[in-house]
């Protein structure tokens, strides 16, 4: 798959996107260090970044079109991994069987990686589309492609991960000429259904007590029992607010994460750590970096001369924005606590590797924009 790197490749290589992604990941490693200086998460993340960069360059210099041609094979392999998670090979952590432990390779989270073949599969199918509005048949096939991995992930169960798949499908539909009235209808339906589903869920007892409390915690974190499930939300808000304009300036011994007030600081709440350590200035810089990265992706999509490439980039971009918004919204206390990592920042090889692979595709697509 690896093509011989030509001079032209280096000329057209998207260095800005690459540097931006590496910069955010490095900033993330610094924050992981701030979160728990005594633990080895940050050194592991450095190694993870090295592995991720290797994968990134391999994909970036490959011809993405051939990979998309092989999408069904990757997709099938992804489903197999997700199925293996549910077998005794899977590892249970915090009541979720989301990890797979294999000899030599070690432990990883297939639900992260499978996003890539899912996107490729969708791009392969919807990339053929040439004329007319989205048909019901197309919707059904799209839903089926997504339904495979999402169904298996829900069995783990990992609702947070499963949720991150839906924006991919939404983006693909939106870019495949779904009629605007369906989009508006869908938005309206969501606006009605979400509160309605919550009410019914509470009434029928389908939504558990702790889930209710997590939702109440974001509506009014001060009045919720701080000893209960509102604890994570209120501690995250405290940590973010404490950062102020420019952060705590190296006083990590008494930081919220070192004193263990902030739960999961190296993963779910890495943004709160960033906010505490670098303040408003650091956080806004990070948001701007994300915005810039997104702009690069979107411009790559616009410049792409092939539908499948455009769909791959926009799917990844949408998934990225969605994850950023859910994760930071949770850290800022206005979205419920859901275990979604912050792309490029949270500790964890699976997520980092997946994100860099995705960006590798983007760079590969961009590099070939002048081909043909």
């Amino acid at each position: 798959m690896v093509a011989i790197i030509e001079k032209r490749d280096l000329r057209d290589f998207d260095w800005l996107t690459t540097v931006l992604a590496i910069a955010i990941a490095s900033f993330g490693i610094w924050q992981i260090h701030n979160a728990l200086p005594a633990d080895s998460y940050w050194t592991k993340q450095i190694i993870g970044l090295g592995i991720a960069l290797f994968a990134f360059f391999v994909i970036a210099f490959s011809d993405y079109r051939r990979i998309i041609d092989l999408a069904p094979f990757f997709y099938g392999f992804g489903l197999l991994l997700l199925a293996l998670v549910l077998t005794p090979l899977g590892v249970e952590v915090n009541g979720q069987q989301a990890w797979l432990k294999l000899p030599i390779i070690g432990q990883f989270q297939p639900s992260e990686f499978v996003k890539i073949p899912t996107v490729l599969m969708l791009a392969k199918y919807f990339g053929q589309k040439k004329h007319g509005a989205l048909t019901l048949r197309e919707v059904a096939i799209g839903a089926a492609i997504l339904g495979g991995p999402v169904g298996l992930i829900m069995l783990e169960p990992d609702a947070g991960q499963a949720m991150t798949y839906f924006p991919i499908l939404a983006a693909v539909f939106f870019l495949s000429a779904i009629k605007i009235r369906y989009v508006i209808g869908g938005l309206l339906l969501t606006a009605i259904m979400v509160p309605a589903a919550y009410m019914i869920g509470v009434k029928t007892g389908k939504i558990k007590k702790y889930q209710q409390e997590r939702i109440n915690a974001i509506i009014d974190p001060e009045s919720v029992d701080p000893r209960g499930y509102g604890y994570h939300t209120i501690q995250s808000i405290i940590t973010v607010g404490k950062g102020g304009l420019s952060g705590i300036k190296g006083e990590t011994e008494t930081s919220q994460s070192v004193l263990k007030f902030l739960p999961e600081p190296q993963t779910d709440f890495i943004f709160a750590v960033t906010a505490e350590n670098t303040g408003f200035i650091g956080c806004i810089s990070l948001l701007l970096a994300y915005a810039l990265l997104l702009s690069r992706l979107v411009s790559g999509a616009r410049e792409s001369n092939e539908r499948p490439g455009m769909l791959v980039i926009m799917s990844f971009a949408t998934a990225l924005v969605f994850q950023i918004f859910i994760n930071i919204g949770m850290a800022l206390g206005f979205l419920p606590v859901i275990g979604v990592p912050l792309p490029l920042m949270s500790a964890g090889l699976s997520a980092l590797l997946t994100t860099f692979c995705a960006i590798g595709f983007v760079v590969s697509i961009r590099m070939r924009r002048f081909v043909n």
């Binding site: 004193l259 906010a275 979107v298 949408t318």
Partner: protein, 637 residues
């Protein structure tokens, strides 16, 4: 490019739409970030500080209490408490902790539930004692379960210890956690007491609490979310409380308690006092209780059972008979009464004779005397305890005269002893308005009964001792007290700093001026002569005579039920009130034995036991040469 721009798909516009939505979402995050960090930053920063900074009190040792010879009566010894902090508990269901704690620490499940409920109600980051006086096993259990139960911690806590147990319990009192009721009262609130503070309850522990109490220090520390100390910011050392030297003589005290223990009913009170100053050498009330039970036991089921048993005991061990008990004084009442009659001129030193008559007829009722004494002078009437004499004397004094005497000898007041909850005696002064309201008038028969310390007269032993002891002191009535001196304690910390505790100076008992009862030398001679005769002159307490150590005293046998009736089980109270040596008193002793019979045969020997202990201690068993007088002074009829 061209084919993507078809009208039906309009892809570029759709891509831009996604981009705009993405930027709007990022902007929402930025705005929220601005609100939390810039607008509310200081507030959240304060919240973060509050939850990580903790003040851990360092208990201050409470001052010890010594007897007058430096023997330790109360001190504090180090004990370990298992304390529970609420923070690690807030996220979990504590019900599974109950069996674990009760098994690991050997506690009653009900008690564990109670404590857990209490700690849950406390403010964030508070701690509470789960088990006091933890054993080595308890400590080992807590240490080895640190990961499972991060909420538990072992803390050093000096605990009050009463080495002599029941001895002196009523004088010393005990210490315990401040009660919710006390916390709400102004006296404690204004001094900044907090739940869980240890305060003196009863006795010297209560009355001198603010001097015995040390000033606790604290450690200002950084803790993690489980309340575990990470680092220390500041230490403020505590200042120990001041040591109290009491007037108690432990040997005399032990003798007094031994006398009560040896008595038939084992109920009563004995007080020994230096009549020259009011210093109390001994104060015993039987039955007694063990203050250690209150200190250690209030947290254990057995201890609480024992405390409940103390409260329910019909013999009332918690009741300090010496200052709270009110008893008819019987014939001991004749001493202040005689003095009152002399002062009021009802009788004179030259002519103090009154008819005995074997009793007196009031209306249809004849109240008799125990003997037939003719018309004796005062000293003989005292020596032989002639009731007939006093019936007539009191009728001559009238109830008004009795009331004047009561006021002279402070029977209408507290003695002012420096331990709390002293009761005031009841006398014709307090009863007359009630009787007159109820019966229309104060009848002569009540005066006759009051003459011999019955009916409307019930007095506390301390008030009676104070009055009678003043006779030997030519009328000087001192305030009885236990405080000899408080030792000073040095300053702690650097002067000018917030953690500075200044030096606390030593001080002695602040003696009020003694009350002077008017008394001529002749009146004094006559009174002491009668009282001397009670022991040395063939009087009612002749059996307790100590060779070489003359005692001036008066017996009393107080009827418990209505006068003149045989009441079977409810036997008379036995009294003996005295001072010695008769003409140069060093010590005054009162003994009261409840429901036992004659004063001369029960109370007087008890007083003698105390005198013997005193002589043994003070004079190595050999009384001083000038402690006796010639027998020519024996009172004659």
């Amino acid at each position: 490019m061209k084919k993507l721009n078809e009208y039906t798909q309009n892809v570029p516009l759709r891509i831009i739409t996604i981009q705009v939505v993405a930027f709007v979402l990022l902007t929402i995050l930025g705005v929220r970030l601005y609100y939390l960090q810039i607008v509310q930053g200081e507030y959240w920063s304060g919240r973060a500080e509050n939850q990580r900074v903790r003040f851990i009190p360092i208990p201050a040792p409470r001052g010890a209490i010594f007897d007058r010879n430096g023997k330790i009566l109360v001190d504090s010894r180090p004990t370990y408490n298992v304390v529970i902090s609420n923070e690690p508990l807030k996220k979990i269901d504590v019900s599974d902790r109950v069996p674990e704690y009760s098994k690991g620490l050997n506690l009653e499940p009900d008690f564990v539930v109670e404590r857990l409920n209490l700690i849950k109600k406390q403010n964030e980051f508070e701690t509470l004692v789960l088990k006091e006086s933890a054993t080595m096993q308890d400590i080992a259990w807590v240490e080895s379960h640190g990961l499972e139960f991060p909420e538990l911690r072992v803390e050093l806590q000096p605990q009050r210890f009463y080495p002599y147990g029941t001895t002196l319990a009523h004088v010393l009192g005990y210490v315990g956690e401040i009660s919710p009721k006390q916390l709400e009262s102004e006296t404690y609130k204004s001094k900044g007491f907090r739940p869980g503070d240890i305060i003196g309850k009863g006795g010297l522990e209560q009355s001198y609490d603010e001097f015995l109490r040390g000033r606790p220090g604290y450690r200002k520390v950084i803790v993690d979310s489980r309340g575990r100390v990470q680092s220390e910011i500041e230490v403020v050392q505590p200042q120990a409380g001041q040591d109290l030297i009491s007037t108690i003589d432990l040997d005399v005290q032990l003798a007094a308690e031994q006398q009560l223990a040896n008595s038939v009913t084992k109920r009563g009170a004995i007080i020994a006092m230096d009549p020259n100053s009011g210093e109390l050498l001994a104060l015993a009330s039987a039955p007694s209780y063990d203050p250690n039970i209150f200190v250690q036991g209030s947290k254990t089921p057995e201890g609480r059972k024992q405390i409940a048993a103390y409260w329910q005991d019909e013999k009332r061990p918690l009741f300090n008979r010496a200052i709270q008990g009110k008893y008819p004084p019987g014939s001991t009442w004749k001493i202040p009464e005689s003095m009152g009659a002399l002062q009021q001129g009802v009788i004179t030193v030259q002519n103090s004779n009154m008819v005995c008559g074997g009793g007196i007829q009031i209306g249809s009722k004849f109240t008799r005397c125990m003997g037939s004494h003719g018309a004796p002078p005062l000293s003989y009437a005292i020596t032989k305890s002639c009731d007939g004499y006093y019936y007539r004397l009191a009728l001559k004094m009238k109830v008004e005269g009795l009331i004047q005497m009561i006021e002279t000898f402070d029977f209408d007041k507290r003695s002012g002893i420096d331990i709390p909850n002293e009761k005031v005696s009841e006398t014709p002064k307090s009863w007359k308005p009630i009787i007159e309201k109820r019966e229309g008038r104060w009848s002569d028969i009540r005066t006759v009964y009051a003459a011999i310390g019955q009916d409307t007269v019930v007095v506390t032993p301390i008030s009676l001792l104070r009055a009678v002891a003043s006779i030997g002191e030519h009328g000087k009535m001192y305030v009885p007290h236990f405080l000899k001196e408080f030792k000073p304690i040095g300053a702690v910390g650097e002067e000018g700093s917030t953690s500075y505790f200044p030096e606390r100076p030593g001080f002695g008992f602040d003696h009020p001026e003694p009350k002077q009862v008017p008394m001529t030398d002749e009146q004094y001679e006559l009174m002491v002569k009668g009282m001397w005769g009670v022991v040395q002159g063939g009087g009612t307490a002749g059996s307790i005579r100590i060779a070489g150590f003359d005692i001036a005293g008066k017996t009393g046998t107080a009827q418990v039920a209505s006068l003149g009736k045989d009441v079977g089980g409810k036997k008379d109270h036995a009294w003996f009130v005295s001072f010695a040596p008769a003409y140069k008193p060093e010590i005054a002793v009162i003994a009261l034995i409840e429901n036992v019979g004659f004063g001369g045969s029960h109370a007087a020997p008890a007083a003698r036991g105390v005198y013997e202990a005193y002589i043994a201690k003070r004079y190595n068993g050999v009384p001083p040469a000038d402690a006796t007088v010639e027998p020519k002074l024996v009172a004659k009829r």
